[in-house]
C-alpha cells in the first residue's frame, strides 16, 4: 500500500543494509580486535588498531595458561563444577516450585506468589552479608556450597517465573486425562509436565550457565583461596599480578573464558532469544 516505487524501495533496502553492516562492525569490532590481539606479540597490540593478522602467535595462550599459581584448566574446572551444580539445582527446584504455582491450589498461594515475584527484584546485597556470616559459621567459605545450595532452594526466582509462564501454556486437559488414569501429582509432574517443558528447561540451563559463568560478585565473596578460584576470579587476579604488562596473555585467557559462552550462544540462541522475548529480564 506504500506509494514508493520498487526501485526506490530497493535503494532504501541497500542503504539500510549498509547502515546495519556498519553498525554491526562497530558492535563486534572490539571483540574481533581482542581475538586478533590475543594472537599477536605483545608489542604489536600497543600500536595496531587494525584486525588483519600478519603473524600468528600462540605464545600468549601458552604463557597465559600458566601465568598463575595453577594452570588455567584448573580454574575452568572450578567454574564448570559451580556452573553444572547451579544448573542442576535450578532445574530441579525451580521446576517443582513452578508446577505448584501454575497447577496446584493451596493455602497462602497468592501471598507466596507475590513474595516470589518480589524476590526477583530484590538486590542481592541486602542478603549477602548475613548469608556470608551464616556460611562462614557453617565452614562453607572457600567451598562451592554457598554458590550452589541457595540455588537448590530455588532462590533464582526468575526461573520459577519463566517456567510458570511456560506451564500455563500447556493444555490442562493433559493433566486431567492423567488424573483420570489415576496418576498423582508427582507422576503428572514427572511424566506429563516436565517432558513438555523442555524448552523452558533449556532456557533456564542457558541463562544459568551465562549468569553463573560471569558472576564475579558472589564468587569474589565466597571463594578467597586461589585453589578455589573460578574463571572470573582468575582473570581478575591476572590483572592484579601482571598489571598492564601482559595484555597478550590476558586477552588470550579472556578469549578462553568467553569461548564456552560463545558456544552456548551459538547452540542456544533460539531458546535464549525466545526466553528473553517472552518473559524478558536482564
Amino acid at each position: 500500500m506504500r506509494s514508493t516505487s520498487p526501485r526506490k524501495r530497493g535503494m532504501k533496502a541497500v542503504i539500510k543494509h549498509i547502515l546495519m553492516v556498519l553498525a554491526s562492525l562497530v558492535m563486534i569490532y572490539p571483540l574481533l580486535w581482542m581475538l586478533v590481539s590475543s594472537l599477536r606479540p605483545n608489542d604489536l597490540i600497543f600500536r595496531e588498531p587494525g584486525i588483519l593478522l600478519t603473524t600468528l602467535e600462540f605464545n600468549n595462550y601458552v604463557q597465559g595458561w600458566n601465568a598463575l599459581s595453577h594452570p588455567f584448566s584448573h580454574f575452568l574446572m572450578n567454574s564448570a563444577i559451580v556452573v553444572f551444580g547451579s544448573i542442576l539445582a535450578n532445574l530441579v527446584s525451580c521446576s517443582m516450585a513452578a508446577y505448584a504455582f501454575a497447577r496446584l491450589d493451596f493455602k497462602f498461594k497468592k501471598p507466596m506468589f507475590a513474595l516470589m515475584l518480589l524476590t526477583i527484584m530484590l538486590p542481592v546485597h541486602v542478603v549477602i552479608i548475613p548469608q556470608y556470616i551464616l556460611f562462614s559459621n557453617l565452614g562453607w567459605v572457600n567451598t562451592f556450597l554457598p554458590l550452589i545450595v541457595p540455588k537448590m532452594l530455588a532462590t533464582d526466582a526468575f526461573f520459577i517465573f519463566l517456567m510458570i509462564q511456560f506451564i500455563r501454556g500447556i493444555p490442562k486437559d493433559l493433566d486431567e486425562a492423567a488424573r483420570i488414569d489415576g496418576a498423582g501429582h508427582i507422576r503428572i509432574f514427572l511424566q506429563v509436565i516436565l517432558p513438555l517443558m523442555v524448552p523452558a528447561l533449556a532456557t533456564t540451563t542457558i541463562f544459568t550457565f551465562m549468569w553463573t559463568w560471569n558472576d564475579l560478585f558472589s564468587q569474589l565473596i565466597f571463594l578467597t583461596s586461589p585453589d578455589m578460584y573460578t574463571v572470573p576470579l582468575a582473570l581478575s587476579a591476572f590483572i592484579d599480578s601482571t598489571g598492564e604488562s601482559n595484555w597478550g596473555g590476558m586477552f588470550a585467557m579472556s578469549i578462553v573464558s568467553i569461548l564456552p559462552l560463545f558456544l552456548i550462544f551459538l547452540f542456544g540462541q533460539r531458546f535464549l532469544i525466545k526466553g528473553m522475548a517472552t518473559t524478558g529480564i536482564k
Partner: protein, 309 residues
C-alpha cells in the same frame, strides 16, 4: 506477560473468597525447597541485615548495638555521597541512552528485513558477554593509554589520553560499555514491535500519515508497556552493577573515586574492611533507593503507559 504486569494484575485482582484449597499437601510439598529458601536464605538474612545495620560488627566480636550511629555516619560519609552520585550518573545517563539505542535498532530491524537473525545475533552478542570479566579487561585496554581508542585517534592526528585513568572520563567509558550491551532490551522491543498489527500502519498510510507521525501515533503508544517494562528492569539492574567498575578500577573505584559505584563501596566496607554493620546499613539504603525509584516508576506509569484493556 512480564513480572511487572503480573505484579500489577495481582494488585488489581479482587480479594479471593474464603474456600477450601484442594491441593494443600502436594502444593506445599512441591514448594518446600522454595519455602526453605525464602525463609532461610532470603527473609531471615534480610531481618539479620536489618538488625546488623544498627550494630558495629567485624565478624570476630559479637555485634554491638550502636543505634543510629551507622546512619549518622552515612550522612557524614563523603565517599558514600560520591558513590551515590557516581551510581546515579551511571544509571540515569546510561539507561535512557541504552533504551533509546535499543529501540532505534529494533525499529530498523523490525519490518521486512532480510538477514534479520544475523543482525539480531550480532547486536545481542555484546549484551551476553558484557557482564563478564573478560569484557571489562578488554575495556580497560581499549580506553587505556596505549589502547585501541588512542591508536585510532593517533591515526587522525589527535593526541589521546588515558581515558580510564583520568577521573573526568573513567565513568563515561563504563557508560559506553553499558550502552554497548543494548542487545537484551532490543530483543524485548523486537518482540513488542511484532505484536503491533500491520493493518494499523496500512490504515495510517492510507490516511496519509507520514512515517514520523506513524511512529508517534502508533508505535510509541502501543509500545509503552514494553518501554515501561524495559525501563523498570534496566534501572533495577543498572543500580546493582559491580563487575565492570571492579575490574576496570582494579577494585579501587578509582581514579579519584570516579568509578566508585555504590555496590563497589559496599563491597569494600563489608568484605575488605569487614565493617559488616555499616555495610548492612548501606545495603538497606540501596534497597530503599531502588524501591523508591521503582514505586515512582509505577506511579508515573499511570500517566504514560497505555494498556489495551
Amino acid at each position: 506477560m512480564s513480572v511487572v504486569s503480573e505484579l500489577q494484575q495481582l494488585r488489581k485482582a479482587p480479594k479471593g473468597e474464603r474456600r477450601k484449597h484442594k491441593d494443600n499437601k502436594p502444593g506445599h510439598l512441591f514448594l518446600l525447597p522454595w519455602t526453605l529458601g525464602l525463609f532461610g536464605i532470603t527473609l531471615f538474612p534480610m531481618a539479620a541485615s536489618l538488625y546488623l545495620a544498627f550494630t558495629d560488627y567485624n565478624l570476630l566480636q559479637t555485634p554491638e548495638w550502636i543505634g543510629m550511629e551507622n546512619i549518622t555516619r552515612m550522612i557524614g560519609d563523603d565517599r558514600l555521597h560520591n558513590s551515590i552520585q557516581v551510581t546515579f550518573t551511571y544509571v540515569f545517563v546510561g539507561v535512557p541512552i541504552q533504551l533509546a539505542v535499543s529501540l532505534a535498532i529494533a525499529m530498523l530491524l523490525d519490518r521486512g528485513m532480510r538477514a534479520l537473525p544475523f543482525y539480531r545475533s550480532v547486536f545481542y552478542l555484546p549484551s551476553m558477554l558484557g557482564s563478564s570479566v573478560a569484557i571489562a579487561v578488554l575495556w580497560r585496554q581499549i580506553f587505556g593509554h596505549s589502547g585501541l581508542i588512542n591508536q585510532v585517534l593517533e591515526m587522525v592526528g589527535i593526541e589521546g589520553r588515558g581515558w580510564v585513568s583520568s577521573p573526568d572520563t573513567a565513568l563515561s567509558t563504563l557508560i559506553i560499555l553499558h550502552v554497548w550491551t543494548f542487545g537484551a532490551p532490543m530483543v524485548i522491543f523486537l518482540a513488542g514491535l511484532r505484536q503491533i498489527p500491520d493493518m494499523y500502519y496500512e490504515a495510517a498510510s492510507i490516511d496519509g500519515a507520514s512515517r514520523f507521525k506513524q511512529f508517534f501515533a502508533i508505535t510509541i503508544p502501543l509500545l509503552t508497556p514494553i518501554i515501561f517494562f524495559n525501563l523498570v528492569l534496566q534501572l533495577i539492574g543498572a543500580f546493582q552493577n559491580f563487575t565492570q567498575a571492579f575490574v576496570v578500577s582494579g577494585g579501587s573505584g578509582g581514579p579519584a573515586d570516579s568509578t566508585l559505584f555504590y555496590t563497589l563501596y559496599l563491597y569494600q566496607q563489608g568484605f575488605n574492611r569487614f565493617d559488616m554493620g555499616y555495610a548492612s546499613a548501606m545495603a538497606w539504603l540501596l534497597v530503599l533507593i531502588i524501591s523508591a525509584i521503582t514505586v515512582i516508576n509505577f506511579w508515573l506509569s499511570k500517566y504514560w503507559v497505555h494498556y489495551d484493556d
